[in-house]
């Protein structure tokens, strides 16, 4: 435990977290309104234009019928993969460093899943009929096609979203109660509603613990299956370079990798702008850095295997797709991805690097740029080089696509900014578990009715 955290007492935790909800400077509003404005301008306006004009507003064409909308979808699903999953794993392994960061990590999961869901609407040609992909009783007497990996995807993501919402909500109930007792006005009404009458009795704690652990155990295999299923959207085709058995683990590792990098970015920003320096410390960055290093090595290994199997297959279509990916039209992007996701993370081997905040921020952003490139290349390079050379092509995203990508980033930011002011972004009760029991010398403010 670092020295600065030892000076904290229970009351400080309550005070700091409630302050993070209530005390809002002008910088926050500038950030919120900028994010909101960018969302409306760069996401919703171009999207409405696309709804009227057709998918033709994007740059997709005949062999490349999938484009950045789908790579954004995979990217956001991927980003969602570390928060709740990591939180569950660390909860089950009783890792104390989880406690200060898990709430915001889980929120990241939730919001990136939501943005991913919106990206599906942007991606399909007729989003006004998207509900046909759900199995619901209807006058057409039609089921969706249960053989379709896209349908598995709908199911998996809906389940994961439900599970993640339940997990983050359940873990927040005692905090809602703690904040309820310290706020007034509409906030008090809001937290009364959200805390569902939590009083902190032994029985309530007991049931919370049971349910929480149960959900944690449930969500780990769920998270692994969700991104496996996303990978099957590709791997179940017979397109060269997509039809690979390695794809499920490849996507899962890639997802956790980009998600963990995302957590580092979010932790840095929370620490800097919400004054959580005492809670989010070098311990967190050190541990997340180690995790990132391990994941980057796994990711690199799977990439090597992917190249090896394509080469070893001896199939001309596979070889062409491989050569095109490495040295073709998008070759520069491939090597950028290797630089950002395979080589740069090797710096994490040094403890000094892992415990310095700004380099970690830069690296985490670089990793996510690289991971977005990876998803783009999966879609763009393999569709450009399929079996019949007559149908070869290439694809460049249009201005509408770039704008919507930017807008989806702003949408995520907006949601997250709303979250930090509505939901305690650091778990009050779990952080207290890591502190020493307070003595009675810590001032008049020390005693507060606990949740």
């Amino acid at each position: 435990m670092p020295p600065e955290e030892q000076s904290l007492v229970y009351a400080d935790v309550n005070r700091d977290v409630v302050r993070s909800l209530l005390v809002t400077g002008p910088r926050y509003y500038v950030a919120l309104y900028t994010a909101l404005g960018v969302t409306v301008l760069c996401f919703f306006f171009p999207w409405f234009y696309q709804l009227f004009y057709g998918i033709g507003a994007a740059g997709m064409n005949h062999p490349n019928v999938w484009g950045t909308y789908l790579s954004s979808f995979i990217f956001w699903i991927g980003l969602s993969h570390s928060g709740t999953l990591l939180s569950c794993v660390l909860h089950l392994t009783n890792s104390p460093w989880r406690k200060a960061m898990y709430r915001s990590a889980e929120a990241m999961t939730l919001f990136s899943l939501m943005v991913a869901g919106v990206m599906v609407f942007v991606h399909v040609g007729r989003p006004w009929f998207l509900h046909w992909a759900l199995p619901y009783p209807n006058q057409m007497e039609m089921w969706p096609n249960f053989r379709s990996p896209l349908l598995f995807d709908v199911m998996a993501i809906a389940t994961y979203l439900t599970g993640s919402i339940m997990f983050i909500y359940m873990g927040s109930i005692p905090d809602f109660a703690a904040v309820r007792d310290r706020t007034t006005g509409w906030r008090r009404h809001f937290y009364v509603l959200m805390s569902m009458g939590w009083r902190g009795t032994d029985r309530e704690w007991h049931r919370l613990g049971l349910a929480y652990t149960f959900l944690a155990v449930l969500i780990i295999p769920l998270a692994v299956s969700v991104h496996s299923i996303v990978s099957w959207d590709f791997a179940m085709s017979i397109v060269p370079a997509l039809h690979q058995t390695i794809f499920a683990p490849y996507f899962v590792v890639g997802a956790i990798y980009s998600g963990t990098a995302g957590i580092v970015t979010v932790m840095f920003l929370l620490r800097k702008y919400m004054d959580f320096g005492q809670y989010i410390t070098t311990v967190h960055f050190d541990n997340l850095g180690k995790l990132l290093l391990a994941l980057s090595l796994m990711w690199t290994y799977i990439n090597l295997i992917e190249i090896f199997t394509a080469w070893y297959s001896g199939s001309s279509a596979e070889l062409e797709a491989l050569t095109y990916k490495l040295f073709g039209y998008y070759g520069a992007l491939y090597w950028e991805m290797i630089l950002f996701c395979a080589l740069a993370p090797l710096l994490l081997i040094s403890t000094r690097f892992r415990t310095s905040f700004v380099p970690m921020l830069i690296l985490s952003i670089a990793i996510n740029i690289g991971m977005y490139t990876e998803r783009f290349l999966i879609v763009a390079t393999s569709l450009s080089r399929q079996y019949l050379p007559d149908a070869w092509g290439f694809y460049v995203p249009s201005a509408v696509e770039v704008s919507i990508l930017l807008g989806s980033l702003a949408m995520f930011t907006t949601l997250f900014l709303l979250f930090v002011k509505l939901i305690p972004s650091i778990s009050i009760y779990e952080v207290k578990e890591t502190l020493a029991t307070p003595s009675n010398k810590t001032g008049s403010d020390a005693w507060q009715p606990s949740h």
Partner: protein
């Protein structure tokens, strides 16, 4: 052992498309590449018959033209020693079609006659079928198209005009098959006679390189062409089991 055989037989039964056991037709097209001149009459005929939009210069340059049948050209060597080979490519109406399994809303499915059909008003435009198709013969409507006066007067009333966001592809001129079935029923016949129905491309082929018919009728011309030693199917190794048979061009210069 008996148990496993029973499972295998039961599995096979459900894996087979319905037309193989329960229906009368298995529509097949045979294209003799030795006769084909690559003139493109089939492409034009298809355009006229099936209300294919003329996407315009700008969209064409973006690679969004819609051609249910296209002549693929492959050049070998450099000018003046260049050699051109070509092959008409359209939906192969695979019996094990990858596009059918991936559509989340079953907008594309195998019908009773062995046709791979596309239901435009069920399609939600995920475009996954186009990705899964190894022949790249599915075309997406990136925008809604319109026909200026008086071109709208020449639209085929038997064929839907597709709107933006919908996938489309060759149907083997299913509207003509339906009409032929109706005629056969009116005449009190159970089956369509061989040669009675022709898709627009087959009808318009000046060299008569294309033959259309039912391969379940062992006396039909296509059924006989299947047994031609030159017969092959494109990308047969992918096990999509296509319904279009090509007869290989006999190349005197081939090594």
């Amino acid at each position: 052992m008996d148990f496993f055989e029973r499972i295998r037989d039961g599995w096979d039964k459900h894996r087979k498309p319905a037309h193989e056991d329960d229906f009368d037709y298995a529509w097949t097209m045979a294209i003799d590449l030795d006769i084909c001149t690559g003139c493109g009459a089939c492409v034009t005929a298809c355009q006229a018959e099936n209300n294919l939009p003329i996407v315009g210069e700008e969209e064409f340059a973006r690679g969004r033209e819609i051609k249910w049948i296209r002549i693929e050209r492959y050049w070998e060597g450099e000018f003046p020693d260049a050699k051109l080979s070509f092959i008409p490519m359209m939906c192969q109406h695979c019996d094990a079609a990858p596009c059918e399994t991936v559509c989340p809303v079953s907008a594309t499915y195998h019908n009773q006659d062995g046709l791979n059909t596309q239901i435009y008003n069920r399609c939600i435009g995920t475009r996954a079928c186009a990705v899964y198709c190894p022949y790249e013969v599915r075309y997406f409507n990136y925008t809604s198209h319109h026909w200026e006066e008086p071109l709208d007067q020449q639209l085929n009333p038997d064929v839907t005009v597709r709107e933006k966001g919908v996938m489309e592809k060759c149907t083997f001129c299913i509207q003509r098959i339906r009409q032929a079935k109706d005629r056969a029923k009116d005449d009190g016949r159970r089956r369509i006679r061989d040669g009675e129905v022709q898709p627009a491309c087959v009808q318009s082929c000046p060299a008569q390189a294309m033959t259309f018919g039912d391969r379940k009728d062992t006396q039909s011309r296509v059924a006989k062409m299947i047994n031609n030693p030159r017969a092959y199917r494109v990308l047969d190794e992918l096990n999509t089991s296509p319904s279009v048979i090509y007869l290989k061009k006999v190349d005197a210069d081939a090594p």
